[in-house]
C-alpha cells in the first residue's frame, strides 16, 4: 500500500533526524519545567474576581486600593454575585469581592454598608492572605471616609466556598499541554512538503504513481505516531512529577488531545504546502503560535478582552482545547458535558485535514 510506504519512509527519516528527535523529546519537558518552576511553588499573586454593583464613585476608590495591593491581582470581572461565586467554585480565582448596589449612596447618607468577600477556603494560606488584604483595604478606606462623611462605616462579611483546590501549576497544565500539542507537531510537519521541494525529491516522488492523499495522509500518520507520544509524556510528567491531579476520565482527556493534535498536524501540513522553503514554513508555524497563546484564555480570561479580541479568541482552536481540557481535568467533566468545545475542535480538525490535499499540486512549476 502506497500510504504505508510513505508512513514507513517518514518514520525512518524522522529517526535519522537528530533535530526533530530533540524537539519531540525535549520541548514537552522544557515547557513543563518552565511552568513547573514558575508556578509550582504557590508563589506569585493570588487571583481574585470583582463584582461591582454600585453606580457611584466611591466603589472605585475601593477597587483602586485593591488593585494596588501587592499580594492579589484582579483576574476577572463578573456581573452578579452568582457569577462571582461560580468563578471561585471552579477554581478560576481564589476569591470574589462584591460591592453592593447603592454602596456610594448609603455611605454618603452616613449609613453603614457591607462588602461581601467570597473566599475559597480549601487552601488556608491563600484564604488568610485574602482576609488580611481586604482588612487593610477597608481600614484605609474608612480612615479617609470619616474625614468627609460622619457616621458612615464599611463592614466586611465573608462567605466561604470550597473550590477544587487548584494549585497554580494545575491551573496552567491545560495550557502547557496545549502548547506541546500545537507547537511541536506544527513545527515538525510544517517542513514536510517544502523540504521535499527544496531538496528536489518532490520531482522524483511525483513521477511515481503516488496520489496527493498518499503523500499528505502518509506524512500525517507518521507524525501523528511520533507526537502522540509527546502527549502521553506531558501528561505523565504533569501527574507524577508535578502532582497534578486528573479529576475527569483520562480517556476523555486523550480524546480531546487527539482531536487537537490532528488539527495541529493538518495546520502544519497546510503551512508546508503553501510555503516556498523551510525557513518560511518555520516562521509561519511560530507566527501562528503566538495568537494561539494569547487567546488561549489561560493567560488572560476571555471576558477581560476587548470585543474584537474576544471574537478572535472564539476563533482560536487553542481556546477550545484549553477550556475543554480544564473542564475535564479540574471540574471532572466527561465528554458529554463539553459538547460545544468538542464540536469546535472537530470542525477545526476536519477543516485542517481536507485543506492541505486540496491545495497541493503535483507539479514543479
Amino acid at each position: 500500500m502506497r500510504l504505508m510506504a510513505v508512513v514507513v519512509k517518514e518514520l525512518i527519516q524522522l529517526r535519522r533526524d537528530p533535530r526533530s528527535l530533540v524537539m519531540i523529546a525535549m520541548i514537552p519537558l522544557i515547557v513543563m519545567l518552565l511552568f513547573g518552576v514558575g508556578y509550582g511553588g504557590g508563589m506569585g499573586k493570588i487571583s481574585i474576581a470583582v463584582v461591582n454593583l454600585d453606580k457611584g464613585s466611591l466603589s472605585w476608590t475601593v477597587l483602586d486600593s485593591i488593585m494596588k495591593t501587592p499580594s492579589v491581582y484582579v483576574k476577572a470581572y463578573a456581573n452578579s454575585i452568582e457569577e462571582g461565586r461560580e468563578l471561585v467554585k471552579e477554581g478560576i480565582v481564589s476569591a470574589a469581592v462584591v460591592i453592593p448596589e447603592g454602596f456610594t449612596e448609603e455611605l454618603m447618607r452616613g449609613a453603614s454598608t457591607q462588602v461581601l468577600v467570597i473566599v475559597d477556603e480549601s487552601i488556608t494560606t491563600i484564604s488568610s492572605t485574602i482576609r488580611n488584604a481586604m482588612l487593610a483595604v477597608t481600614y484605609k478606606f474608612q480612615q479617609e471616609l470619616v474625614r468627609s462623611v460622619q457616621g458612615s462605616s464599611v463592614e466586611l462579611i465573608y462567605s466561604s466556598v470550597y473550590g477544587p483546590k487548584v494549585t497554580n501549576l494545575e491551573a496552567f497544565t491545560p495550557l502547557v499541554i496545549g502548547i506541546v500539542l500545537q507547537l511541536v507537531p506544527t513545527s515538525l510537519i510544517s517542513i514536510a512538503i517544502c523540504k521535499e521541494k527544496e531538496r528536489g525529491t518532490f520531482e522524483q516522488l511525483i513521477m511515481s504513481p503516488i496520489s496527493r492523499f498518499d503523500i499528505i495522509f502518509g506524512k500525517l500518520l507518521a507524525f501523528f505516531i511520533a507526537t502522540i507520544a509527546d502527549m502521553l509524556i506531558t501528561l505523565m510528567v504533569a501527574v507524577w512529577i508535578f502532582d497534578v491531579s486528573m479529576r475527569g476520565p483520562l480517556i476523555d482527556a486523550m480524546v480531546v488531545s487527539t482531536l487537537f493534535l490532528l488539527g495541529s498536524l493538518g495546520l502544519g501540513m497546510l503551512i508546508s504546502v503553501l510555503s516556498r522553503n523551510q525557513l518560511q514554513a518555520n516562521q509561519a508555524a511560530i507566527f501562528i503560535f503566538i495568537p494561539a497563546l494569547l487567546f488561549s484564555g489561560a493567560l488572560m480570561p476571555i471576558d477581560m478582552l476587548s470585543p474584537s479580541a474576544r471574537i478572535l479568541a472564539n476563533l482560536t482552536p487553542m481556546y477550545y482545547f484549553v477550556s475543554a481540557f480544564r473542564d475535564i481535568m479540574i471540574k471532572g467533566f466527561g465528554l458529554w458535558q463539553i459538547t460545544w468545545q468538542l464540536f469546535a475542535l472537530s470542525v477545526y480538525m476536519m477543516l485542517m485535514m481536507v485543506s492541505a490535499p486540496l491545495v497541493l499540486r503535483l507539479r514543479v512549476d
Binding site: 514507513v8 527519516q13 516522488l205 513521477m207
Partner: protein, 322 residues
C-alpha cells in the same frame, strides 16, 4: 472479458508546437520533436537552451503554455497517470532521499509502483547487481560517490521496467570511465527494447545516440543522426591532405572546397570539404599532381560532434534540417 489492444507504435514521443513562457521569457519556442520507439535520442544544447523545461513538460511536471505532447500515444498532461506507468525518470539534480539507504530508496519507490514482497526484493537485487551497487546497498544515499548516486538514480528509474527512459544529464560531473560504464548500461537497456531520451553536454556521449536534436534558445535548430548532422553542417565530408614543403594558398586552384590551410613540420596541411569524398578524392589528387605538388598523405577525417555543435550554436549555419 477484457479486450487487450496492443498499439503498434512508431513514435514513442511526438511533440508539436510546444511552447513554454515564464512571464515574458520564452524558454521553449514552438518545438517539434519525434522520437521513434527503440531509439536512443540525444538532446543537446547549451545551458539554458530549454532542455530541462521540455523534459518536464513531457513528463507532466510542468504545464505547457501551448502545444501538444504525446507519449506512446498518451496526451500530456491529460493522461499523465498512464505516462507514469511506462516512464522511468532521472532528474537533472540528484533527487533521491539522502537520508535513506540505497536499498531503502529502491524499496520505497518500488512500493509506490505497487511492487511488494518477494517480487520487489528480487527486482531490487537484480538491479543492484546490474548496476554494481550490491556492496553499498546499506549505505545512505547522501554518502555515495557521484557515480554511485547516478547509478542509484538509474536503478530507481528502472524499478518498474519502463518502456521509456527519460534522463536529464545523467552523467554530469562524473569521471570519464564511469560515464563510459554508464553508457554501457544504457546500450544494454536499449538492446532489450527500451526507448531512451537523454540530455548531455558531453559530445563524445552524443556519438552513441541513434539520433540527436540540438536545442538553442528554446528552439530545435538541428536534428538527425550524428553522421547526417556532420555532413549537413560542413556541407560534406572533410578530407585532410598533407603536401610536401611550403605551399602558398595562391598556388592552389582548389579554393572553393578549401576550408583551412596550416603548416606542420615544414609541410602544408590542407583541409577540404568534399560533397562525397569517395568519388571526388581521386580526381582532386590528380589535379594536385598536375600542378606539381607532392601529396604525402590524404585521408578523410572524423569531425567531432563538438565542432558541429559549435558551428550550429554560434550561428554560422542557419536553421537547418535533414
Amino acid at each position: 472479458m477484457v479486450l487487450v489492444i496492443t498499439r503498434l507504435m512508431e513514435y514513442a514521443i511526438e511533440i508539436s508546437g510546444l511552447t513554454k513562457k515564464f512571464g515574458d521569457f520564452v524558454a521553449v519556442d514552438r518545438l517539434d520533436l519525434r522520437v521513434k520507439v527503440g531509439e536512443i535520442f540525444g538532446f543537446l544544447g547549451p545551458n539554458g537552451a530549454g532542455k530541462t523545461t521540455t523534459i518536464r513538460m513531457m513528463c507532466g511536471l510542468m504545464r505547457q503554455t501551448k502545444g501538444t505532447i504525446k507519449i506512446y500515444g498518451y496526451s500530456i498532461p491529460e493522461e499523465r497517470s498512464e505516462l507514469i506507468k511506462i516512464t522511468g525518470y532521472m532528474a537533472q539534480r540528484f533527487s533521491l532521499y539522502e537520508d535513506l539507504s540505497v536499498y531503502e530508496n529502491m524499496e520505497f519507490f518500488g512500493k509506490l509502483y505497487g511492487l511488494n514482497g518477494k517480487n520487489l526484493e528480487n527486482r531490487i537485487i537484480e538491479l543492484l547487481e546490474f548496476l554494481d551497487l550490491k556492496d553499498v546497498k546499506n549505505r545512505l544515499a547522501g554518502r555515495l560517490s557521484g557515480g554511485m548516486k547516478q547509478r542509484l538514480a538509474l536503478g530507481v528509474a528502472l524499478i518498474h521496467r519502463p518502456k521509456l527512459l527519460v534522463l536529464d544529464e545523467p552523467t554530469a560531473g562524473v569521471d570519464p570511465p564511469i560515464r563510459r560504464a554508464f553508457w554501457e548500461y544504457l546500450r544494454g537497456l536499449n538492446k532489450e527494447g527500451t526507448t531512451i531520451l537523454v540530455t548531455t553536454h558531453y559530445m563524445d556521449e552524443a556519438e552513441n545516440c541513434d539520433r540527436i536534436g540540438l536545442m538553442n534558445r528554446g528552439r530545435l535548430i538541428a536534428e538527425g543522426t550524428p553522421r547526417e548532422l556532420k555532413k549537413m553542417v560542413f556541407g560534406g565530408d572533410i578530407v585532410e591532405i598533407v603536401l610536401q614543403g611550403y605551399v602558398q594558398e595562391g598556388a592552389l586552384n582548389e579554393t572553393a572546397s578549401l576550408k583551412e590551410l596550416t603548416y606542420r613540420d615544414g609541410d602544408t596541411v590542407l583541409r577540404l570539404v568534399l560533397k562525397d569524398a569517395s568519388k571526388e578524392l581521386p580526381a582532386l589528387l590528380r589535379r594536385l599532381d598536375d600542378i606539381g605538388l607532392r601529396v604525402l598523405s590524404a585521408e578523410p577525417i572524423n569531425v567531432t560532434l563538438e565542432e558541429v555543435f559549435i558551428e550550429l550554436v554560434t550561428g554560422r549555419v542557419e536553421k537547418a534540417a535533414v
